[in-house]
Symmetry: C2
Subunit: 242 residues, 2 copies
């Protein structure tokens, strides 16, 4: 089964949490919106799905995944779905629900990181909400990021297997997302992260472990990995990195 994955081309954004899972699963997928319109792909193909009244389970927004005639939207739901089909989730049902809960906390954190540079409206440019962004980012870095990172650190520490991963003794999709959070926060806020990170050694070590997984390492070294930039969730605006 080859999947069709749909997300905005040119950014990692929320879609990256899905790309990492597809790569680690070794699943075949087409990153449709990054393809060419000549091949029936590109953003036009993604817009066509979003506009198609024939779908009875329409996605609210990208990212979404097509698996045959099924459409699954929302990062956490896509990962729940992929976790049932590939070796990127725990086997045990209770552990699977725990993985999903962790992912929903990742979702909330990602939303807060995004809103730090868009506190008023997504429809406005960052430059139109700079002073509000400065205020919100201060709260993000002083209170919210430590709360989320501390929570994920505690989750790893309480893993009964004492492995370096968050569930059991193998990497599962929440670990991939923790890697992405650390990588993104380091890109966006290098000064603040240098100060914050030493408090979360397990998360920082996990970042390196995930980056070294053969499939992830190959992905990160390929041109499928879009570089961080100032259009996605994680943006480096030096004035926000106090």
């Amino acid at each position: 089964m080859s999947y069709e994955f749909y997300y905005w081309p040119g950014i990692q954004g929320r879609g990256e949490f899905v790309r990492l899972a597809l790569e680690q699963a070794g699943a075949g997928y087409v990153d449709v919106a990054r393809g060419s319109e000549e091949d029936g792909q590109g953003v036009a193909a993604m817009r066509a799905v979003l506009a198609d009244d024939a779908f009875t389970t329409p996605p609210f927004a990208p990212p979404f995944l097509k698996a045959g005639d099924r459409i699954v939207a929302h990062v956490a739901a896509i990962l729940l779905f992929l976790g049932d089909r590939h070796d990127i989730a725990p086997k045990n049902a209770a552990h699977r629900l725990w993985a999903h809960q962790l992912q929903l906390s990742v979702t909330d954190f990602v939303q807060e990181i995004h809103d730090a540079h868009h506190p008023i409206a997504n429809a406005l440019y960052y430059e139109e909400q700079k002073s509000e962004s400065a205020q919100r980012t201060e709260h993000l870095l002083s209170a919210r990021a430590p709360k989320y990172l501390g929570y994920f650190e505690a989750a790893i520490a309480r893993n009964p297997t004492n492995s370096e991963f968050v569930i059991g003794d193998a990497p599962s999709y929440p670990d991939l997302s923790f890697f992405q959070l650390v990588a993104g926060l380091r890109y966006a806020f290098p000064k603040a992260m240098a100060r914050i990170e030493p408090d979360y050694p397990k998360i920082a070590a996990l970042h390196d472990t995930i980056a070294a997984l053969p499939r992830i390492a190959a992905y990160l070294g390929s041109d499928r990995r879009i570089p961080f930039n100032e259009h996605g969730v994680f943006r480096h605006y030096p004035e926000l990195d106090a």
Copy 2:
């Protein structure tokens, strides 16, 4: 099985989406933080769970549900879990995942409604971020609320059974959440909703259908239903209701 439900007492908040599901399921539950400390309940009991290092699957924040020795946090995950055990979700696995996806869009909408009165930081009072709230609420009411309501309206319209519900021909937990969204938006923004609502007749009709379900009607008439107030997600600040 009687559940222990944990959420801040005194507000509907995010917890209300779970309360409505528990009520419609006819499930026995204790609303722990609303109980008395003499009985080992109250907010102290909730804080004790949040602080207990012995839980290997700790909740990030309320609401959360205890089912025996399992803890499930995040509204959408709690409803996914309850939907597997009670008659408030479709039977078919693909439909269940669709219900979950709809609920994740509800989660996103609820976050945006909350952030309209807290655009800078949850830790600050509304009064400390009033001008930013006015700006964000304008975007909420002019763009985001119509987008979400239009999406849910389309989802109902595309239900292949042509029922008044969003999935199949029986109420499921996303319908209960749509009821709560309409009730809350009407409370918070009566003027704006009077203007917006006629565009979404199926959602408005569903609100009335859900309110008339025997178990929901009994709940809404009981003192278990906390009145809306200016501490929860849906707050009526007349200056924001343009």
